[in-house]
């Protein structure tokens, strides 16, 4: 992961161009709707712009953590407000090939389980899945690097337990 080099003058545009696409994609994995993902990515960079404390060595960690948190919040909000609408979307997609429909359904299951998990555990799983190392995770989430493995393991157990209880081993 790229970081802003220490001692160099802060350039928002440099950070933006270095991370925007990856941040938008990370959000897009969680919220499905590409347009919404870009909106949220702009929100994340806007918060970053207005928050000088986030500028510096840990800018990348801050951006990913905020992106995942923002996307999860949006996912939970959507789960609460338009669950019926989303289910009907899936039904309406039945005209597409069966495989595509199954994949979409599986995505929906994963998203739903993530929205039910403890916020920190969901963030941890998604950040790890985005490719952050243990050290980067510890930095982004303000955790003790020595405990990251334990936290990830617990998050994975919680995810699997919740998933299986709802959808089985599939």
């Amino acid at each position: 992961m790229e970081v802003v080099a220490t001692g160099e003058p802060f350039s928002f545009e440099t950070v933006f161009h270095a991370h925007y696409e990856r941040i938008a994609r990370a959000i897009g994995r969680i919220v499905r709707d590409p347009a919404r993902a870009e909106e949220l990515a702009v929100d994340v960079f806007w918060k970053f712009w207005r928050n000088p404390q986030a500028h510096g060595e840990k800018a990348a960690g801050w951006l990913y953590r905020t992106a995942i948190r923002t996307a999860l919040n949006d996912l939970r909000r959507q789960s609460r407000t338009d669950r019926h609408e989303r289910l009907s979307d899936l039904v309406s997609a039945s005209s597409s090939p069966e495989q595509e429909r199954a994949a979409a359904e599986k995505q929906e299951h994963v998203r739903h389980v993530l929205s039910l998990l403890d916020e920190r555990q969901a963030e941890l799983l998604l950040l790890r899945n985005s490719g952050l190392s243990y050290d980067e995770l510890a930095s982004a989430l303000n955790l003790n690097p020595a405990s990251i493995g334990t936290f990830i393991s617990r998050a994975q157990q919680a995810f699997r337990k919740e998933y299986i209880s709802r959808y089985g081993e599939t």
Binding site: E13, F16, A24, G28, E38, R111
Partner: protein, 311 residues
């Protein structure tokens, strides 16, 4: 540290791997940057509006404070009922002669015989206290044998006095004066900062000579905000007096020999160390109790009832 369960990790990763953005998702960085810059401009505009809006609100509050009527206080240079802003302007830019005016409200008219002015206790033999003129009957109401006498010092241009005369005095008259418990005496105390207060008092006293005191006092207080702007008192009195009576009142007011009792009332006020309007002097058992400002009726009623119970 817990030993990572590779199977568990793979199981979870497999499921998370299904989360892929749409295949045609191409984040548009330049468009996003433009939106950010647009949002920043909007933010700055909003912030500027808040800044100027806050400034405007603060200015509005200041103007509202300056426009508030000042309390009626003879010792203060702030005219009662006039906006504080006007008073500030007057105090900053008025003529030196005006600035040198005494702090006491009353300015005796040249045509009126000078009334005895209270003199501070001078060394040597004590001067005899000034003999106040007995109030003429039209300013009194109630039984002369009432156990309590209430003297009310007021200024016709004072908004607090108007409120007192319209809200408190009618209740006082109905419950205490007409029942013989209180004798009510009106006394004039025109404050110097009120341009037309003394003229209004002269109109009221002239009307009193003609038996129309109460109706004129009531009209003066009800229309105070109108005539206080221009000093055109007569047009307001025309609504309650017949043309004949109004002409008689007009003649009396213009008559330099007209003794309108204002001077005597002011002397009484100075003896009681009254410096503001409205003020109340309650006389009971031979003692004069001065109350600056007139309390609301329930409080006044409690006080009067307590005095009456002492009898």
């Amino acid at each position: 540290m817990e030993k990572p369960d590779r199977n568990l990790a793979r199981w979870v990763e497999d499921r998370l791997a299904t989360l892929q953005p749409a295949a045609d998702f191409r984040p548009n960085a330049s468009q996003a940057l433009a939106r950010l810059q647009q949002r920043d401009r909007a933010y700055r505009v909003t912030r500027r509006r808040w800044f100027w809006g806050g400034g405007a609100a603060a200015a509005a509050v200041c103007l509202a404070v300056l426009a508030m009527p000042a309390p009626c206080n003879a010792a203060s240079s702030t005219p009662c009922g006039r906006p504080i802003a006007t008073s500030l302007w007057d105090s900053l830019f008025r003529k030196p002669a005006e600035s040198a005016a005494p702090t006491v409200a009353f300015v005796p008219p040249a045509a009126v015989p000078p009334a005895p002015v209270p003199v501070p206790a001078a060394p040597g033999p004590a001067a005899p206290p000034p003999q106040p003129q007995p109030p003429v009957p039209y300013k009194q109401s109630g039984s002369p044998h009432a156990p309590i006498t209430c003297e009310i010092y007021s200024d016709y241009e004072c908004p607090h006095c108007a409120q007192t005369f319209l809200d408190v005095i009618p209740l006082l008259v109905a419950q205490y004066v007409e029942t013989g418990k209180v004798k009510l005496v009106h006394r004039d105390f025109p404050l110097r900062q009120h341009l037309y207060a003394k003229l209004a008092a002269r109109y009221a006293n002239a009307a009193g000579r003609l038996g129309a005191y109460e109706v004129v006092v009531d009209q003066l207080y009800r229309t105070q905000s109108i005539w206080a702007q221009s000093g055109d008192i007569e047009s307001q009195l025309a609504a309650v007096l017949s043309p004949t009576v109004l002409q008689q009142v007009r003649n009396l007011v213009k008559d330099p020999q007209f003794d309108d009792t204002i001077d005597a009332d002011v002397v009484m006020a100075l003896q009681d160390h009254i410096d503001r309007t409205p003020s109340l002097v309650v006389i009971f058992g031979g003692k004069r109790q001065v109350i600056s400002g007139i309390p609301d009726f329930p409080l006044l009623k409690g006080y009067l009832d307590e005095l009456l119970n002492r009898q």
